[in-house]
Subunit: 239 residues, 2 copies
Amino acid sequence: MNSEFIKKMQVTCTNCSLDEICIPRGLSHSEVDTVSQVIKRKKTLQRGDFIYRDGDQFKGLLAIKSGTAKLIADDQDGNEHILNILLPGELLGFDGLFNDQHNCSAVALETLSYCELPADNLEELCQQVPSLMRELFRHTGSKINNDRNMIVINNRPAEERLAAFLIGLSDRFSKRGFSSSDFTLPLTRQEIGNHLGLALETISRLLKQFQTSGLINVNNKQIKIRDIDSLRNIFSQPR
Amino acid sequence: MNSEFIKKMQVTCTNCSLDEICIPRGLSHSEVDTVSQVIKRKKTLQRGDFIYRDGDQFKGLLAIKSGTAKLIADDQDGNEHILNILLPGELLGFDGLFNDQHNCSAVALETLSYCELPADNLEELCQQVPSLMRELFRHTGSKINNDRNMIVINNRPAEERLAAFLIGLSDRFSKRGFSSSDFTLPLTRQEIGNHLGLALETISRLLKQFQTSGLINVNNKQIKIRDIDSLRNIFSQPR
DNA sequence: CGTATTATTGACTCCATTCAAAGATAGTGG
DNA sequence: CCACTATCTTTGAATGGAGTCAATAATACG
């Protein structure tokens, strides 16, 4: 994206509605301005479009403005594994930090717009805006903690995994100002199963079971959480 | 590389035998000197000692000089899950980057010595030594990639998990200058099982099976890899 | 040397997968 | 707008991989 496009859009970090949850959180007004000048607004993508592909050169860290995405790792035999899903306001691209080459792929799950904090400016920018460095470390730390939480969750029984997944979505939607009780699953049963290491039939059966127990209402991809405390209890009970 | 510096009495990053694999990799001589001045050499710990505990204040990033350690997450019901093991020359502590508070515990698996890059100097130090920032981002990126690899591996059959674990150890030992074919498992069967999400009996049975197939020799914790290619093939075969 | 921890091995059980088939939903073009 | 098709979801029945239980053996340790 070129600079005239940026001027045309008139969207900057300063007036972006995500400014509280994206990178600039924790930065002063003038610091946000500085960062905003190098942030690139990228074009909108459609469902199924790749944001980046495994092996692509790392060009920068990305922030989702609207829409959702999935991170997928391609394993040896060509199957793909959904590592994570990304909601509006969340950051991605950290898998490129190690060797300037992406280590997994990112795919839009629906119409999606995003911003980029270019990698080539990163060092100088952090020199100019020291607290940006701190924020970036915070975000990398957060990603590490999330991934490790996923490792722990993935070794628990199917029921707990799905409950944790739903609770996680609820919390994250809530943090972004969406309803914590009513939301649309951005993934198919197949994809949820893939993400949680379960068969799609298991997801279907468990959603039904959760509904029967009065924990949630399910209508295809539409979820209504009816008893969030009991749902939370599912994975905080001793086995 | 730095052989002319190995005359100093004190152990510094400049003459540390780990200088190729620890933080200073990628820094110039003078930069390593600068970093070396703030690095703290910590006292030696014994098996079972905590390096840090879940919830502890984050004091800095740590590099293991000798010995091995495990990272453990305490889940809701008091069970612990071994997230990773750390070999000499490897870094830990990144789980404290998010909110200046450790998100898991680190425990010595044997007599262990380590260094600390203090957190309170980090911002200024990165201002003075810009390439340190790049190196730190590289390391955080590496941790993220490793954890995600773990997520993918953990959803595969038991045989593949254990093969991947052994190959991973072999590669990492090799990178540190140890034998890639002969090494001692730093974990009990119980701990390996915990780490891989398998029962300890399954580990025992699979090690036996690998030995019977001529892939490895097992003598309690002593492992000899006899056919590393076939071992690698176990998890690069289509299912 | 005796005790505690760790490892092996077998038999049985169970959670989740796989296979299979029918039903629902969304998207497309005539 | 409806019919047609592809995709997604539900549900049941059978299978199997890994867990659990249990008992013995080996190793480490004070």
